[in-house]
């Protein structure tokens, strides 16, 4: 039986990996890339990590696995819920009852840890270590080595140096924890995800672009650190192992974060009661539409929400109005949206009824926020890098471009690697 190693590098654009490999920032990657095919992959719709990683590990799009973002309203209410492994309604590959033994480290959307054949340490958004680990006996050892699920992001408010020190340290500890398990446990499938790259890209993208910045080299240094991890994995991994590397989305510079709910209110689609703490619970029946991160628009349908008023015809009209509105909107002379997709056109899975009605595909440099704090149209944020739907990374050792679909998408990863349940059974 072939063993499989999946390496996740959160937020790594394919073009950037190629560039860093070629320029000497990531020399071991350069060697690795010679052994297979590197493709540019499409992220999930919307291009948010929770949805995209869920697609990678289940082979489903959001309407198949039920994760459309980090947040969602609890069904039949306006209460804001946060997605987790409990929200995930499709089985990740390590939950298949196929006798394979798994080591799953830091995969997003796997908290709280569910029992599996093997060992698991959840990735973000894990809310405590105790319930992020299976089997629970492994918790004490991880605590002892100072394992952290995520970097301490509050450090970025203090200094970039502290932040960088923190993400390096978290990566080292994570790899140490993984190596300990790898040495000790039998395995058939490994998935190990590095997330510091996403954090770095969000906060230091401006330094990457500005070669004169004192943090430009430090940005590159983190990727060199990732490359040394790749080296260590390569050195230890048996040659006959199937190896794939993937990211969940691409990245680009962020010029501004625009609050979509602010715009919806300004244009009469969103109506809120007066409240010191604006929230979805404060929406009045006059509300026709509201937004959630990133660029998800929901129509306030009467058959979906307690105070919703839109019937199908009114919803159709509102969808057309919103499409026209957002395609034409500019903020500070900058176009906000390139495309507006209709949920009914793109989602066909068993959880399509929970999907957003519209997806706004942000224009270059624009992040579309769904926050309900409507103080600012352009939100004051430290973030200067943002996700892209295009240009995520997929690499598979031993495969060629001909082995990949014409358009490689996150939900195709398992099938390309022949890890989908049916294919494995057939094999």
């Amino acid at each position: 039986m072939t063993r499989t190693f999946l390496l996740g590098i959160d937020g790594l654009p394919s073009w950037m990996w190629r560039k860093f490999a070629d320029s000497g920032v990531m020399p071991y990657s350069a060697e690795l890339l010679k052994t297979g095919v590197l493709a540019s992959m499409e992220s999930a719709l919307p291009e948010v990590s929770s949805a995209a990683w869920a697609s990678i590990v289940t082979g489903q799009d959001p309407s198949g696995h039920n994760v459309y973002g980090f947040t969602d309203l609890i069904d039949g209410t306006y209460s804001l819920g946060f997605t987790s492994a409990r929200t995930l309604k499709a089985k990740p590959f390590w939950q298949e009852d196929d006798g394979r033994r798994n080591l799953i480290i830091n995969v997003p959307q796997s908290y709280p840890a569910q029992p599996l054949n093997g060992a698991l340490i959840s990735g973000f958004l894990a809310l405590d270590l105790e319930r992020a680990v299976f089997p629970p006996e492994n918790v004490a050892g991880l605590q002892e080595m100072g394992y952290r699920i995520d970097a301490d992001m509050t450090t970025i408010n203090e200094s970039k140096d502290l932040f960088l020190e923190n993400i390096h340290q978290v990566l080292d500890t994570r790899f140490e924890a993984f190596s300990t398990l790898w040495d000790a446990e039998p395995w058939d499938q490994i998935m190990f995800v590095i997330t510091g790259t996403d954090r770095l890209n969000h906060y230091l993208w401006e330094d990457y672009q500005d070669t004169s910045s004192p943090y430009h080299q430090k940005f590159l240094d983190f990727y060199s650190h990732v490359d040394r991890i790749i080296e260590q994995i390569m050195a230890k991994l048996p040659d006959e192992t199937d190896l794939a590397v993937m990211a969940d989305h691409g990245f680009e510079h962020q010029e501004m974060s625009v609050n979509v709910n602010y715009l919806l209110r300004e244009h009469g689609f969103l109506s809120l009661k007066d409240s010191p703490r604006p929230a979805y619970t404060q929406m009045t029946p006059q509300t026709k539409a509201f937004a959630m991160d990133p660029g998800r628009l929901y129509l306030h349908r009467k058959d979906r929400y307690p105070h919703g008023t839109l019937d199908n015809d009114a919803a159709e009209l509102a969808a057309e109005e919103l499409t026209t509105l957002f395609l034409g909107l500019e903020v500070e002379g900058k176009k906000l949206v390139d495309r507006v997709l209709r949920g009914r056109d793109i989602y066909h899975g068993p959880f399509a009824h929970r999907a957003p009605d519209l997806i706004l595909m942000a224009a270059e440099g624009i992040a579309l926020s769904g926050r309900m704090n409507l103080e600012h149209l352009i939100e004051p944020v430290l973030i200067n890098g943002k996700h892209t739907f295009e240009n995520s990374t997929f690499f598979a050792r031993g495969l060629t471009a001909g082995d990949l679909p014409e358009t490689m998408r996150v939900q195709d990863v398992l099938s390309v690697l022949k890890m989908e349940k049916q294919q494995r059974i057939a094999a």
Binding site: D10, G11, V48, S49, S50, F70, T71, I74, T77, Y78, S79, L80, G81, F82, T83, S84, R86, T87, P108, F124, L125, A126, L127, D128, I149, D150, A151, D152, M153, T154, T195, D198, R199, H202, Y203, S257, R277, A279, Y280, T281, D293, A367, S369, R371, E379, V381, I383
Partner: protein, 493 residues
């Protein structure tokens, strides 16, 4: 507007003790989580009662939309709410257990029976005979809809108490397990030390047990109006914390006092122990994000609640001696057996008072509207301010005209160190305004209730047996001579 008994309908899960804080999340950058309650970002919690709804924003669900918070006589309470009463065998603890059980709560009580022991050591006894705890619990569980469980345990026995806290997972904790007598604490050094040790260390240990095993539970800690003293300047007795517009002027400069603890000026070593408890709880809320209401209770009196009245086996204790009795209860007992009511000094001392049944209502309302994590707040729990002389005159009037008794009043040398003539302006607005409390009893009716109960032959006999113990002997000065009678008064008709 909520109904009058629905003050907590609009509360959110953020103050619900069934909700576990999980972290703060910044969704603008891929759901990065921070775990300090002081961090910024979107709050994320999990409901221990409804894990099926996953992780959520606690501000987005209110009690009136949550199926776990159900309407009760005194606002909403969690279905089968798990309430721990420390000191459940006491005068206040037992009727509270009955009330909560009648409202469907699951009550976990502990007591070390120190009160029964100390009363017996004094040679006195409860005027109304009280059953063993085993019998009380048995009858209560037969008659009431909720459940009461009891374990004999000393709060100071931390090896037992901490696991008990972990096992029972209370959602609300009522700290009544304190020795409640000012004169006992002033009688000698051993009794002072006993009071301080039991009260101070008991509450301190409790805060650590909560930190480790029940950090989401709300703590209702019984303090006393005596913590404040009675400032001769006439400064109002605010509810524990200065109001927002309070200022301090000194040498031409002005500072805001808003939100700071008001001064405490305890009037005995018992009250010192209560002040220390206040600080322990205040600090624990600050350090560990515990949440607490500190209840500055006026002098309590009475013997009746609807649940106590169900069965004599459910009686709560009713003490009248100089150490363990409270003033109104003692006055009625003295009158019942033809002894003069003993007032100290002028009898003009002003104090806050509340009936037993109103006090129970207040505590239930506090249980139903828990503070937010990290919040320490204070309520002044009283309904009226009376002078001691007024109380004696009221007891005399009712005793004479309604029970055909011959009341007398005796003014004694004051054994305490206290001002006898002083201003006394108590602010007590929160319970009514924020918690929906409405008094359901009054002084006259409660005095009548007491007379009816203790004029029964068996009760009267139990007063007779401790007749000598009604007269004060404990001087704050430590001197041993008998208190002199200053004046004997026959109240006007």
């Amino acid at each position: 507007m909520p109904e009058s008994n629905e003050q907590n309908a609009g509360c959110t899960c953020w103050s619900c003790p069934s909700v576990e804080f999980k972290g703060h999340v910044d969704f603008r950058a891929c759901g990065q989580a921070a775990f300090s309650k002081a961090a910024s970002g979107q709050l994320v919690v999990e409901c221990k009662r409804r894990p099926d709804i996953g992780y959520f924003d606690p501000m987005s669900i209110t009690y009136d939309t949550c199926p776990e918070w159900q309407k009760s006589q005194y606002g909403r309470l969690l279905k089968g709410m798990r309430v721990m009463i420390l000191g459940m065998d006491g005068y206040l603890g037992w009727p509270l257990a009955l009330k909560l059980a009648s409202l469907g709560c699951h009550v976990f009580g502990i007591d070390n029976f120190v009160r029964r022991r100390l009363v017996a050591e004094k040679g006195s006894q409860s005027v109304l005979a009280i059953s063993s705890m085993e019998e009380r619990v048995r009858v209560a569980n037969e008659r009431l809809s909720g459940t009461i469980e009891f374990q004999e345990m000393d709060l100071l026995d931390r090896k037992k108490f901490f696991p008990y806290m972990k096992e029972t997972r209370p959602e609300s904790i009522i700290q009544f397990a304190e020795i409640p007598s000012a004169p006992y604490s002033m009688a000698d050094v051993d009794k002072a030390a006993h009071t301080i040790e039991n009260n101070v260390l008991g509450t301190l240990g409790l805060t650590f047990a909560m930190r480790d095993h029940a950090p989401e539970a709300s703590l209702i800690k019984l303090g006393t109006m005596g913590e404040y003293g009675s400032p001769l300047t006439g400064r109002p007795l605010f509810e524990g914390l200065f109001p927002g517009d309070a200022t301090l002027q000194y040498k031409g400069q002005e500072w805001s006092l808003g939100g700071e603890l008001t001064p405490r000026d305890p009037v005995s070593f018992y009250h010192v122990s209560k002040v220390q408890g206040t600080f322990s709880v205040y600090e624990a809320c600050k350090y560990w994000w515990l949440r607490s209401y500190d209840v500055m209770q006026g002098v309590i009196y009475g013997n009746s609640t609807p649940e106590l009245d169900l069965d004599p086996a459910l009686n709560t204790r009713f003490d009248i001696d100089e150490w363990w009795g409270t003033v109104i209860n003692r006055f009625v007992a003295q009158t019942a057996i033809g002894e003069p009511m003993t007032i100290y000094g002028s009898g003009n001392q002003l104090r806050g008072y509340i009936t037993l049944s109103d006090a129970i209502q207040c505590i239930v309302r506090l249980v139903g509207l828990p503070p937010e994590p990290g919040q320490y707040d204070v309520v002044n729990q009283l309904t009226d301010v009376f002078s001691v002389r007024h109380l004696a005159e009221t007891v005399a009037r009712i005793g004479k005209h309604e029970f055909n008794l011959d009341p007398m009043i005796q003014r004694l040398e004051n054994p305490r160190v206290e001002a006898e003539d002083h201003p006394y302006e108590v602010i007590h607005e929160k319970l009514e305004n924020n918690f929906g409390f409405k008094s359901e009893s009054n002084l006259d009716d409660e005095i009548r209730n007491i007379f009816r109960a203790i004029l029964e032959p068996a009760a009267k006999q139990r007063i007779e047996e401790q007749r000598k113990l009604l007269f004060p002997t404990t001087r704050w000065s430590g001197e041993k001579q008998e208190m002199k009678v200053l004046e004997t008064i026959k109240p006007a008709a």
